[in-house]
Symmetry: C2
Subunit: 333 residues, 2 copies
């Protein structure tokens, strides 16, 4: 096999690795979904109104297409109840969610009958509902529809674009996320890079940023070593702490979507870690409970190892500093 | 205007806000790009090989389409040199970048002639080049092509999907980013939620996570108050520190793409903060230098305010703890 893997290049560390899993997605749609989930995305709620009927769907298939003319696209499942309304309609709005809108995303993904009744919104200039609190709105006319397997791709001509203050809500690795500057870029242009050797009182906050990033990356490796991706780890922790829940309750408690929760539960059943009773109550098997306890022990040992050798007095002082910083920046309820 | 904004709902805080800017994207493509940039995305490099010619383009327009059949899509500019190769070809591969591959993204976005020569890769089972070190690969046959204004949308039938260990590289708010669990979800299933009142030695690491999130959000508000988005703030800091650079040098130094850098520079010129000499050297005006100094002062005051009232001895102990955690988790060079 022709390969450049051995060459001493800018990507020398990117040698060929073994995949965790690989295959034909026709035979394994869960594998395909897990692979797709590795592409992080924002979250958009698409809204439309036609003859006093309103529809909204939550998607992460939004993408930009063209600047001239200004086009964007997204896809809707042909099985969706809202499919006829969007495909017969002549316009829609794309509402890009902000990091403060996790509850809005959850609300619009739920089975509530009239989602607009409990939501703050107003009609846009082109007639589609615009949700308040979003980061951006794209008010569109339907430009083209393209059949795409079990979905229809809707291409919109953007008639009006607007943006607001805030940070984006993201969906990455199967969970709601927020984005921070990549650690190899300075965390903020004001901060600059530093090394522990140059630490002064003026670097406590940048050091908190860097410590967070490094600890987070190192602990992720521990979780991978346990053979669990984050959605499976979250589900196993939830069922351990609250045995007897049903699938939709686990989906809400873990902040995973219904589909990711179902996939994670199926993985756990396949591996003999979970059983589901006749009435749908979920309980871990002994193997499942052991795995959960192994992860918790790993986390406790990780903390102990990390803090080992730091004098007790320093740990207490660090806790006081961090607690004060947290208390004074917590948003008021 | 019909509105539900005043109602006491789950979104009561999402009252209608004034947009920072809004308009018809036909008249202002930079406004349109700034709005599009608020939708966070992963980064994908699309590769293809035809008659010993290889092509690669870096995109953030990747999206999933369908599970049955397994379809994905992305868009390529009709002005791209690689447009003919991708639209005449019968297959391509989607390489989803990992957080460790910022250098790969920069390399493939640069003007280097043969991008594959300095990159570690091998041909996939279906003939398209697969880059090493990625988070996922989708090996595709071209399923359909759709004209989309100044771009062509390519829809791929996925013949093989594979995934690897790692975290995704993201592009959000005009910069390379990494994702962390949303703070309203526990940072990791192992950690759980805590309050300052329950702080113990066992909570130092979760406290670092929470302090980072809160400080980061509060400082973002300061930057917005200065009227600068993050890409403009980064460019102004770069030109201040290194006057006389040219556009492509600023793009590399700031880790912004060429287009975002050009947009940020144009904004600064419009606002009278920057001038460009005949040979393309960039220099801040006095207004530009003042703005840069105002941001730096704001950052210094922010740090001072945050740490005010914490005893000197506690600050030193905190620094020792953080420096140790950073030093022992820094990857070896």
């Amino acid at each position: 096999m022709q390969t450049n893997a051995g060459r001493d290049t800018l990507s020398a560390r990117d040698t060929a690795r073994q995949p965790i899993e690989a295959g034909d997605p026709v035979n394994d749609s869960r594998l395909f979904r897990r692979c797709l989930g590795l592409y992080g995305t924002g979250i958009a709620i698409i809204t439309a109104e036609m003859e006093d009927q309103r529809a909204a769907v939550t998607v992460n298939s939004f993408a930009s297409v063209s600047l001239d003319p200004p086009l964007v696209l997204w896809s809707i499942s042909r099985a969706s109840r809202s499919h006829p309304l969007f495909t017969n309609g002549k316009r829609f709005a794309v509402n890009i969610l902000a990091s403060t809108q996790m509850n809005v995303s959850r609300h619009f993904s739920s089975k509530v009958e009239d989602k607009f009744a409990d939501t703050s919104w107003s009609p846009g200039e082109f007639g589609s509902p615009l949700l308040h609190g979003c980061l951006a709105h794209f008010e569109c006319e339907t430009y083209a529809q393209v059949e795409g397997g079990d979905h229809t791709i809707l291409i919109g001509l953007v008639r009006r674009a607007s943006r607001f203050d805030g940070e984006p809500l993201l969906f990455a690795q199967g969970q709601y996320s927020v984005a921070y500057s990549h650690p190899e870029v300075s965390p903020a242009p004001e901060v600059g890079r530093f090394t522990p050797e140059t630490a002064t009182e003026g670097t406590i906050i940048p050091q908190i940023f860097e410590a967070h990033h490094l600890l987070s990356a190192v602990f992720d490796e521990h979780r991978h070593a346990e053979g669990l991706d984050i959605s499976v780890a979250r589900v196993i922790a939830c069922v351990y702490d609250m045995p007897g829940l049903k699938t939709d309750q686990v989906a809400r408690a873990t902040y995973l979507g219904q589909r990711d929760t179902e996939d994670a539960l199926a993985t756990l059943v396949e591996r003999g870690m979970l059983v589901s009773s006749a009435d749908g109550q979920l309980v871990l098997t002994e193997a499942g409970r052991h795995r959960r306890e192994a992860i918790r022990t790993r986390w406790q040992n990780f903390q102990k190892d990390q803090l080992e050798g730091i004098p007790e007095a320093d740990l207490r002082a660090t806790l006081r500093t961090l607690s004060k910083l947290i208390a004074q920046n917590r948003p008021a309820k």
